[in-house]
């Protein structure tokens, strides 16, 4: 199922928007113009991820060294602070087994969406998630 989140201009880089559709709550992030959608429900106890702060990814090859990059691409759960990679939904502490579901998100032309009878303006770009 496709869901139109809103005009691109309303979700500027670094921001996020919570959408509810098809019984799901999904949070859509704009990372420098690319859009990513995650299940809003934290896989731990269900904390609302859209309320979580974002930060960069800190890694360390050796105690005392801090490599910090990808600023803004990690969301921390607002409750127990588990870190999730916004691009993949994978947790940092156990990326293989613990993740929040991620959904495809993309930008589509209003003109293309018009055919599907969403109320859109032709001249604008829209963020669309595939649920």
């Amino acid at each position: 199922m496709r869901h139109v989140v809103g005009p691109v201009a309303e979700i500027p880089p670094g921001s996020r928007r919570l959408v509810e559709a098809g019984g799901k709550r999904v949070v859509v992030f704009n990372l420098d113009g690319a859009f990513f959608a995650l299940n809003d429900r934290c896989p731990h106890q269900g904390g609302p991820l859209h309320k979580g702060p974002v930060m960069g990814l800190v890694e360390s090859a050796c105690p005392g060294e801090y490599r910090y990059d990808r600023r803004g691409e990690i969301v921390r759960c607002p409750w127990h602070a588990w870190e999730f990679d916004i691009r993949t939904g994978r947790s940092r502490f156990d990326p293989r087994r613990v993740k929040t579901r991620s959904f495809p998100a993309c930008i589509e032309k209003g003109a293309d969406l018009q055919a599907e009878t969403f109320p859109v303006r032709v001249e604008e770009d829209y963020v669309v998630v595939e649920l």
Binding site: G47, G52, P78, W79
Partner: protein, 368 residues
């Protein structure tokens, strides 16, 4: 005992058939000025010019920086930007109504003057915090019960505050912090136990506070992750102290509730004391009951932060060793390590036990 009609709420755990009692909610003052009406001019001056003086070096904030601001859920700030759990209406909406909490126990933490370096100030603040709980919280929401906050480093003043509140059903327990300046079983604190026993109030021990001593018995650790871990060791030390000093032998009707202390460690501590007891009986002849028996009869624990062992049956083992009738649900609202009652108390726990944890045990203990 009141009859509790379980509320219907969107988030209420269906297994809470004996009511949903949350034994750990942390109301927070909007500003330090909320305490002014109940403070003398001298104490008001002290509060607003010297501030609270806990046994650590920073004027503001804790020495081990929290994982989240104000150690709170990020979604617990009020829509107006007010600090978490500073607004009874928002607290009710986000927590009590949302989960269908029938009774919530208030445990005010800092800023409250508990464990302050200055005893008279600590006593003045305890009185003010207790009046504030009644006026701002209990009077506005009938589901809430207050804790008697005490200046625990001054046991006589604490006992006086407890006696003042005895018989007032708006208060359900006496509250002390786990990190006291002496191990809690020390005779220095006995007037608190005596007054609590007399008033028929359990003593809730909430993890936290600053003892003034290094946070481990091998010196100061480096990280917050260690501090969190060390709350468990501090609580273990206070349980050792209560048992070995003979507090449970002297105060046979005393009930102690460990709040936010974790509980996974308790069976091992009890077994260790049982193992030690025969080889140290010559030193502590005042201990007549096996330590595990004392703890089984006079100690309760709360669930949050819920233990998360690798496999479900390990949690069941642990809870069974402690006693299914001794475990109380706690949320720790609005703190970051909050436990959602629906997801934190796992469904693999048999339903009757879950019902007891959610409400039955707390109702029996506190007489709700």
């Amino acid at each position: 005992m009141n009859v509790i009609n379980p509320r219907l709420a969107p988030g209420r755990p269906p297994a809470a058939t004996q009511g949903l009692v949350d034994v750990d909610i942390h109301p927070r003052p909007r500003s330090l000025h909320v305490f002014d009406p109940w403070l003398s001019a001298e104490m008001r001056h002290r509060l607003h010019s010297y501030g609270l003086r806990a046994r650590h070096g920073f004027v503001k904030g804790p020495p081990y920086f929290k994982a989240q601001p104000l150690a709170s859920r990020r979604d617990a700030w009020t829509p107006e930007g007010g600090t978490p759990a500073s607004d009874p209406a928002f607290t009710a909406a986000q927590h009590l109504d949302h989960y269908g909490v029938d009774i919530g126990v208030l445990n005010p933490l800092q800023p409250s003057g508990q464990g302050d370096m200055n005893n008279p100030f600590s006593a003045a603040m305890a009185h003010a915090v207790n009046e504030w709980q009644l006026a701002e919280w209990v009077a506005r929401d009938g589901r809430l019960r207050a804790s008697v906050v005490v200046p625990y480093e001054d046991a006589e003043a604490s006992a006086a505050e407890i006696r003042k509140r005895a018989g007032d059903s708006r208060f359900c327990q006496v509250l002390v912090m786990s990190r006291t300046s002496h191990p809690l079983g020390n005779p220095k604190y006995w007037p608190i136990f005596e007054a609590a026993e007399e008033a028929g109030l359990p003593v809730g021990v909430h993890a936290f506070g600053y003892s003034g001593w290094p946070m481990t018995n091998g010196g100061w650790p480096s990280f917050y992750i260690e501090e969190v871990s060390e709350h468990a060791t501090s609580c273990q030390s206070l349980v050792n102290s209560l048992v070995i000093e003979g507090v449970f032998e002297r105060f046979r009707r005393l009930k102690v509730v460990l709040i936010e202390c974790g509980f996974g460690w308790l069976p091992s501590v009890a077994w260790r004391l049982d193992k030690l007891w025969p080889t140290l009986k010559d030193e502590i002849p005042h201990i007549r009951r096996a330590p595990s028996e004392q703890l089984r009869e006079q100690l309760w624990v709360s669930t949050q932060p819920i233990e998360e062992p690798p496999r479900p049956e390990q949690l069941l083992d642990c809870m069974g060793w402690i006693g299914w009738d001794r475990i109380l649900y706690a949320s720790d609202y609005p703190h970051w390590d909050f436990d959602d009652p629906r997801t934190a108390i796992p469904a693999f726990i048999p339903e009757a036990h879950r019902a007891a944890i959610y409400g039955g045990n707390a109702r029996r203990l506190y007489g709700f």
